[in-house]
C-alpha cells in the first residue's frame, strides 16, 4: 500500500467503516460527492477564495527567535494557524465540508466539538455560507470552555450539552452520530477531526493538508523536523501528509495528562490497544473487555480515547514518532511561549511547543523545527489561571 492512499477505506489494518446500516447510504453519497469535488476546479477555486478572504490564508511561518534562544539549539519556526479566523486550524476543514454540504443540497449541519473550536469554526463557516448549524458538546466541556459556548450562541448555532458517558468529546461524537442516524436524509455531519468512518479521515486530512503545503512553500524546502499535537489528529496529519515522503522527522505529541503511569491521560498511540470506535479501527484507550476508558487532559481538544486511523498506521510503519507531554509540562510551555514571544497558544498546541523546547537543545543550530501552532489560547486563560492558583497553593 502506498502511504496515504487508503485501500477500501483502510490504512493497513486501520480505518474502515464500522457503521450502523442506516448510515451506509449517507456515507456512500458523501464519498461519491467528495470524489467529485476533489477534482472540480470551480469547487477548489471557491474554497481557495474563502480560505484566503474569509479565513486569512496563507498563515505566516514565523521564526521564533526568542523561543529558539530560550531552548538553545535548533531554530524553531511556528506555523501560525492560531491567526486564522476563529482562532484555530479547524476552519480549514469546516469551510471545505460546509461548501461540500451545500453542493450536496443538505439543509442542516450537525457537528461535535471538544474544546469548542470546531464548533465555533462550524458555526462560522455555516453562517458565512448560509447554512443552519447545531453542535453537540460534552457537558463537562461546556463548563470548561464556556467562552466558546457563548461564541456559538452568538453565531446562531444551537449547542446541545451531552450528559451521557464521560461528558466529553467522545460522547459528543456518539450523540452526533445518533442524530445523524435519525435525520439521515436531510442532515450533513461535519466531523471535526481526521477520525470516524471512511471517507472522513481522508477528507479531513486533505482539507487540512494546506498547512503542510504552505510550510513547504514558505521554507523553500522542507524542515528537518515537524511537530504537531494530536487529539483526533487533524492538524498533525495536515502538517505531515504533504511531506510524508520527504525524509522529514515527524513527531506527533499526545496528551499525557497527569502522567502515562497514572492512567489519567489521553495518549492513545502511546498507551492504547487496537479496537473499533466511532466507525473506525484504530488505537483506543480501553479496558480488557473493550470498554472505552475515561480520559484526561488539561486541554479539552485532546481529551479523546481514540485517534485518526492514518496516525495508527503511520505509527505502526514507523513513519511518525508519537510522544506525549504532561499537563504541567504544557502549562510551562504555555507560559514560556507567552513570555518569550508574546504569543498565547491554545493548550492543545502547547503540547507541541513543549516537545519542541525539549528536543531543540539536542539538535544543532543549523537544524530547523517547524511547530504547528494549531490555535490561540484565549479560550484557555481561565483554565490556566485556575491551574496556577491551585498549584501555587499546593507548593506553599
Amino acid at each position: 500500500m502506498k502511504i496515504g492512499m487508503p485501500k477500501d477505506g483502510r490504512f493497513g489494518d486501520f480505518g474502515g467503516k464500522y457503521i450502523p446500516e442506516t448510515l451506509v447510504p449517507a456515507i456512500e453519497e458523501l464519498e461519491e460527492n467528495y470524489q467529485k469535488i476533489k477534482s472540480d476546479k470551480s469547487f477548489q477555486n471557491e474554497l481557495d477564495y474563502y480560505l484566503k478572504n474569509y479565513a486569512g490564508r496563507p498563515t505566516p511561518l514565523y521564526f521564533a527567535k526568542n523561543l529558539t534562544n530560550f531552548a538553545g539549539g535548533a531554530k524553531i519556526y511556528l506555523k501560525r494557524e492560531d491567526l486564522l479566523h476563529g482562532g484555530a486550524h479547524k476552519i480549514n476543514n469546516t469551510l471545505g465540508q460546509a461548501l461540500l454540504a451545500k453542493k450536496m443540497k443538505k439543509k442542516r449541519i450537525i457537528a461535535e466539538t471538544g474544546a469548542g473550536q470546531h464548533g465555533v469554526a462550524t458555526a462560522m463557516a455555516c453562517s458565512c455560507l448560509g447554512l443552519p448549524s447545531e453542535v453537540y458538546m460534552g457537558y463537562k466541556d461546556t463548563v470548561r470552555q464556556q467562552q466558546n459556548v457563548f461564541r456559538m450562541d452568538l453565531l446562531g448555532c444551537k449547542v446541545y450539552p451531552v450528559k451521557s458517558g464521560s461528558q466529553t468529546l467522545k460522547d459528543a461524537i456518539n450523540e452526533a452520530i445518533r442524530d445523524w442516524i435519525t435525520n439521515v436524509d436531510t442532515t450533513y455531519y461535519l466531523l471535526g477531526s481526521a477520525v470516524g468512518p471512511h471517507p472522513y479521515p481522508v477528507m479531513v486530512r486533505d482539507f487540512q493538508s494546506i498547512i503542510g503545503k504552505e510550510i513547504k512553500k514558505q521554507m523553500k524546502n522542507v524542515p528537518d523536523t515537524v511537530i504537531a499535537c494530536v487529539g483526533g489528529g487533524s492538524n498533525a496529519i495536515g502538517t505531515f501528509y504533504p511531506m510524508i515522503d520527504d525524509g522529514v522527522e515527524m513527531i506527533g505529541v499526545e496528551a499525557a495528562g497527569k502522567g502515562l503511569k497514572t492512567g489519567k491521560h489521553s495518549a492513545t498511540l502511546n498507551a492504547g490497544k487496537k479496537g473499533v470506535l466511532h466507525g473506525m479501527m484504530t488505537y483506543l484507550l480501553q479496558d480488557n473487555d473493550g470498554q472505552i476508558k475515561e480520559t484526561h487532559s488539561i486541554s479539552a481538544g485532546l481529551d479523546y480515547p481514540g485517534v485518526g486511523p492514518e496516525h495508527a498506521f503511520l505509527k505502526d510503519v514507523g513513519k511518525v514518532e508519537y510522544k506525549s507531554a504532561t499537563d504541567s509540562e504544557v502549562i510551562d510551555a504555555f507560559l514560556t511561549l507567552t513570555r518569550t514571544e508574546g504569543i498565547i497558544p491554545a493548550l492543545e498546541s502547547a503540547h507541541a511547543i513543549s516537545h519542541a523546547i525539549k528536543i531543540a537543545k539536542t539538535k544543532p543550530k543549523s537544524d530547523s523545527i517547524v511547530v504547528t501552532l494549531s490555535g490561540r489560547g484565549d479560550k484557555d486563560i481561565d483554565i490556566v489561571k485556575q491551574y496556577l492558583r491551585k498549584n501555587v497553593k499546593n507548593s506553599r
Partner: protein, 267 residues
Amino acid sequence: MSKIQDKFKELKSKNEKALISYIMTGFPNENATLSIVRGLVKGGADILELGFPFSDPIADGPVIQNASTVSLNKGAKIEKFFKIVKKIRKETDIPLVLMTYTNVLYTHGYSAFMLKAKSAGIDGLILPDMSIEESKEYLKSAKKNNLDTIFLVSPNTKNDRLKKIAKASTGFLYLVAVFGTTGVQTKIHKYTIDAIKNAKKVVNRKLPLGIGFGVSTPVDVKKYVSAGVDAVIVGSANLKIIENTSSSKLQNKITEYTKKLKRSTRI
C-alpha cells in the same frame, strides 16, 4: 440446523410468528437478570436477545444507553456474562442471541470470544456497528463456531445491498423499523411497512425477517405481523417496565406483558 432456525421452523408449523425479547443483562442488577429471563420464558417469548453493555452504544437511544451505564457501573464483565448465560442454559432451551458492539468481540479476538460464547450457550450474534464490508473475519469465526450472524438492514438499504447482507445473515435478518436509535416509538410509519414488503420480496424466502426498534405494544406486533414479518423484537419497552417496577413484582409484570405480545403473534 441451528437452534434459531429450528425455532422458526417449529413456529411456522404452528402458524405463529416469533416474539424476540431483548433485555440488558445486569440491569438493574445481576440477580434480577435471571428472574427477568424466567418471566420472559413463562410469558412465551420464543427467542431471547441478551444485551451485553458497551460504553459507547451509538445505535441506542436513552433507555438502552441508561441500562448499559447501570450495568457497567455495577461491574458488568464478559466472563460474568457467560456465567449468567450458562445459568440460563441450565433452565431453558430457548435460543439465545447476544447483542453487543464490535469492539467487545474484537478485543478478545473474534474466534476466542465466539468459542466461549458458544460453549456458554449463545446461538447467534447481533452487532449494530458491524457492516458487511468489515465482516470477513467475523463471519469466518462465526461459521467455525456454529453461531448465527444476524445482520441489520434499514428502510434506506438499497436492494442489491439488501441481497448481499441477507446472504451473510443466518438465523434471521433484522430490519430496523425506523430512522433512528432504539427506543419506544408511538407510531408505525408507512415507509416501514413498505420496507417489510420489499424485503420479503427481495430476500431469500428461507431467511426469516425480524423487525425491531420501537416495537412496544400488541397492536404494533399485530400490524407488523400482518405486513409479513416472521419475528418482532421488543427491547426498550421491556427495559421501561424493568425501570418502573419494584423487584418483587417484576417477574409477574414481565410475564403478563410478554403474554400479551405473544398472543398477537398468532395468526
